[in-house]
């Protein structure tokens, strides 16, 4: 077995053990050996589940297309290494790794969401009045939820809603693209 193909058996073994679909396994095996091996090392270190592996393969592929880099170089980045080698349980690190990978794949979405979340937090809304951003900022629909257990609580929440009307309206405009991303 040549050095270049040394990883093949290990990748196949991981894929078989985790019932990885054949198409995904083939895509993994089609990568350059260093890239395939880097993915295997992450999978082993974080004990990734099958769904996480599928997600990781797709995200790494798309980041690679966007940025012209192979998987080995991407997972070697400091921000990802920190999640792989950081403190915490393996599931927590795996989750943090996937989250960071998604941020790299969707950098402007991640920034926009962080910006909106900080605007929501700055309103300091009372318990029972919640502003829910759309999943993945995929629409300009902002959900405002009131949860009251008494008439007086309802009055208090409605007043808070009125008091924050302008900020909430500004959030809707931001969702629609009023701000620089």
């Amino acid at each position: 077995m040549s050095d270049d193909s040394a990883h093949i058996g290990a990748v196949k073994a991981w894929a078989a053990e985790h019932h990885l679909p054949a198409a995904a396994t083939d895509r993994w095996l089609a990568l350059k050996p260093a890239d395939a091996l880097a993915i295997l090392e992450v999978a082993r270190e974080l004990r990734l589940r099958t769904a996480q592996m599928l997600n990781m393969l797709e995200l790494l592929d798309e980041i690679g297309v966007r940025e012209g880099q192979g998987a080995a170089k991407i997972v070697a980045r400091d921000e990802l290494r920190r999640t792989i080698c950081g403190a915490g349980s393996r599931p927590a690190r795996a989750s943090a790794f996937m989250e960071k990978l998604r941020e790299l794949r969707y950098p402007r979405l991640a920034r926009a969401r962080a910006n909106l979340e900080s605007a929501v937090a700055a309103m300091r809304l009372p318990r029972g009045l919640t502003v829910v951003l759309p999943k993945d900022l995929s629409s300009d629909e902002l959900m405002v939820r009131l949860t009251a257990h008494s008439a007086s609580e309802l009055d208090k929440l409605l007043q808070a809603l009125v008091d924050n009307r302008q900020q909430i309206a500004a959030l809707i405009e931001k969702l629609g693209g009023s701000d620089e991303i």
Partner: protein, 365 residues
């Protein structure tokens, strides 16, 4: 544009039709021609090929259309503001190969490049429509399931269409294209009833995604020539792709457009974001795995399509809208397949209903 055809199929009933003769005369003599009873078989995907969709583009089929030619634009829906466009399907599939093209999914089960030889029936359908609504104005386009001009060198279809529409008063024809195939059109007089529209993308999108189409500068130059020849011209910034330099590149594209084509001759500009069903996205990524334009920040949206997340999309729409307003304030602009709320946010007013919008665009913006 150059065709790479493997074979031409002609249904027996059209063996001696003028369109068949025109195609055969214009074809490279090395392309095999086969006469068949029913062209639908030849339109089916050849699953032995690595890319059946691309292989379908190389099989030209002259055949009968067995369904109505005229229909409302399939993009229309209660969810979106709509431009009232009527689609006239004279062909299906396209010799160009844009990585984002919806045909990759839409005609995956019949990818053969079909040209409907009974197109005179289509004109009968338009006659009937006009008779039913004599006071209305319609905008009818042939560029939905095929590029309107990509095959014109072979078929000469545009001449028959211009001749028909030049005699209408309540219907205008929109020929939508990514080519600069305008030689036939330059020989005809549209009498104000034909407009030609181009999908325009920045050079980066053209180079990465719009395979075998004419470069953006060539499309603009073709528009200038046709505008000078009495045709209405229009542009579709659709799909707009929100890659990192998009805002700058679309601004430069518009600057170049207005430097090439006199804004007073532009009937309208439509604007729309990249949108892909999950099936289309899979097909496009499989066929064009290295195209970075397919790996933008698209997320699954409430309408079931992948779209650039709303804030970024809205931002891009706003920037091009302002650019157009500043340089060509008289040009009508509308959004395609976006909500009325998005239109209101970008333009400050809610769009008119589809019929009214269709009339406005048919009458010239």
């Amino acid at each position: 544009m150059r065709f790479d055809l493997d074979r031409v199929f002609i249904e027996n009933e059209f063996r001696d039709a003028p369109i068949s003769r025109r195609v055969l005369n214009a074809l490279d003599s090395r392309v095999a021609v086969q006469y068949v009873a029913d062209g639908r078989e030849a339109a089916k995907p050849d699953r032995r090929q690595a890319d059946p969709f691309a292989a379908g583009k190389r099989r030209l089929i002259l055949m009968r259309r067995r369904a109505p030619f005229l229909m409302a634009c399939p993009a229309g829906s209660a969810q979106f503001a709509c431009c009232g466009y009527l689609v006239l399907t004279l062909a299906s599939n396209c010799p160009m190969d844009c990585s984002y093209c919806f045909l990759q999914e839409y005609v995956a089960d019949n990818p053969g490049f079909q040209i409907y030889a009974n197109y005179a029936d289509a004109l009968d359908e338009i006659d009937a429509l006009i008779r039913k609504a004599p006071g209305r104005h319609f905008r009818v386009g042939t560029g939905e399931l095929a590029d309107s001009l990509a095959f014109d060198r072979l078929t000469g279809l545009s001449l028959d269409l211009v001749d028909y529409f030049s005699r209408q008063r309540n219907a205008v024809l929109e020929l939508k294209t990514k080519t600069d195939e305008i030689d036939n059109l330059l020989t005809a007089d549209p009498k104000g009833q034909v407009l030609v529209s181009w999908t325009l993308s920045p050079p980066a999108v053209f180079a990465s995604s719009e395979h075998r189409s004419a470069p953006p500068a060539a499309r603009m130059e073709a528009a200038r020539r046709l505008a000078d020849a009495g045709y209405g011209v229009a542009f579709h910034l659709d799909p707009m792709i929100a890659y990192p330099e998009a805002e700058r590149d679309y601004a430069e594209l518009l600057d170049r457009l207005f430097a090439t084509v006199n804004a007073s001759k532009i009937r309208f500009i439509s604007v729309g974001g990249l949108r892909m069903t999950p099936g289309l996205r899979r097909a496009a990524r499989r066929r064009f795995p290295a195209d970075p334009m397919l790996t933008g920040e698209e997320v699954l949206s409430p309408d079931g399509r992948y779209r650039t997340f709303t804030a970024l999309r809205g931002r891009l729409f706003d920037s091009v809208s302002k650019r157009i307003r500043s340089q060509a304030p008289g040009v009508a602009v509308y959004l395609c397949m976006e909500s009325a709320a998005m239109s209101e946010r970008i333009f400050g007013t809610r769009p008119p209903d589809p019929a009214k919008m269709g009339e406005i665009l048919a009458r010239g913006g």
